[in-house]
Symmetry: C2
Subunit: 298 residues, 2 copies
Amino acid sequence: MAKKDVRKYKIKTGVVHQGNAAILLKNKSKFPDESVDLIITSPPYADKRKKFYGSVHPSEYVDWFLPIGKELLRILKPNGSFVLNIKEHARNGERETYVIELILALKKQGWFWVEEYCWYKKNSYPGKWPNRFRDSWERCLHFTKERSFKMYQNAVKVPIGDWASKRFKSMSEKDFNRHISSTNGTLGRNVSNWLNRKKVYPHNVVVFEEEHYVSNVLEFATVCTNKNHSAVFPLELPTWFFKLFTRKGDVVLDPFIGSGTTAYAALAMGRRFIGVELNEEYVNQVNKQIELMSGVPN
Amino acid sequence: MAKKDVRKYKIKTGVVHQGNAAILLKNKSKFPDESVDLIITSPPYADKRKKFYGSVHPSEYVDWFLPIGKELLRILKPNGSFVLNIKEHARNGERETYVIELILALKKQGWFWVEEYCWYKKNSYPGKWPNRFRDSWERCLHFTKERSFKMYQNAVKVPIGDWASKRFKSMSEKDFNRHISSTNGTLGRNVSNWLNRKKVYPHNVVVFEEEHYVSNVLEFATVCTNKNHSAVFPLELPTWFFKLFTRKGDVVLDPFIGSGTTAYAALAMGRRFIGVELNEEYVNQVNKQIELMSGVPN
DNA sequence: AGCTCTTATGAATCATTGA
DNA sequence: GTCAATGATTCATAAGAGC
């Protein structure tokens, strides 16, 4: 069955489809079986205020998501990955439980819960409450279809451990160069040791030095640094997971693509993308912008 | 009922009781109702290897913990907090689910799930696997009995400074260091080193704290307090929660105190502690060390 | 003292082997 | 089949030696 679809339909990338993900993802000509290498998304959060865009009541969140999860399971390639960026809200002094309930439900649906990456947002929303601090981290839940899957760890290697970067953080660029150029200084020797050190693998806490967000100002698709937090995640987040779970030319899907961060990151990284978004303004804006950036829609 | 117990029994602190937490915590003379300001612990993790010390099978973990949770709910003061440091293992390519199931079960038991703090362990265990990176963070789950509870947010903004010397009123800090260094074992030396480090590099620590301690992500490196028995968490972890949820003289309980990190942190911070531990060696070692450090057992 | 370098070792996980 | 034990892999620290 799956193989028939793979032959019958070919996925068309480079476009954001307008519509309800739960309905649209069922379309096998747009979303053939086993046609996507990576799904990455930050779905609308549950919210008690029904009026809020895309909001779902916490008590209905799991039931709302499961039909989508089922289609994603169908669309993903057997060796692909599904990265779900989400964080439960605090309400009435407590954290909501819909996210951890969703993990259990997705497992029951057939997904492997491989890992929970922690995205550590150093510049999170300001705020002060009597019972909690600022929410500075989000879950990036990693699910797969099979126990074995594609993972390109070398692509995200970091050059050095924290101990060394801290050590040289207080040093100015001038000092740094001076020390490197000095031939007899012990620190110079140390620096060269550091430069020669092998790259190391990162761990499951993801921290970005700078975060670049796609502005949701509808008239212009602009990218800014740490100023506009209304986008769900910064370009760095999908970029990192693209490197980790895909190669150039692979297909990535974001069923809640919003202002298009996943699309722009995919373009920049040489991945083919396909998106779904309910909001027409977002859809039009992103498609227009993508066309301008890529010349001809593929 | 509760009030009767509060009057009838007075909690005796400064000691680690040897025994099974599930049984021992039922003892109302040792653990009266509403007698503890903060419970902080890192329970034995679930493990499939039955022989392993303190291990519980993942499938039995929730059922194993709930009777303990019930007693903790009884023992905690209404405005107190319960901090549970835990992280599920990865096994056969997946994360275990017993921790998130425990959250749901504890809520059903009557606990409020206020927050999930993320402890970012910079020096995590090494290793390389085809499907995951090293595990560098753990959950610090914050539960309470009531929606409103004691929280001293200002206390964690204050640098550590000179708390160590203030604590030991009958002893100068030099005496203290000499005293615990003269006792057997590496433990005293390690605690001493830690105290000295705080003293020697206050500025770095202050910057470090101010940068990170205003959010729900905590950055600590794990340190070994003892060569034979590794501490499950560093002194910084209970110390930080002591400051946040208790004041001097308050009573803190660790039902799985292990090598005694909670006790040493409590002593240093001027909190009264009470502990439970199954392993006799741990119990004897900690009680002996505590007696030496505090002069007279209280 | 201060620093540099070496060595040991951890609440780990997976693939493999054997019972 | 299921379960248990072993080896390979990896890096941030502490501790100690040497200059």
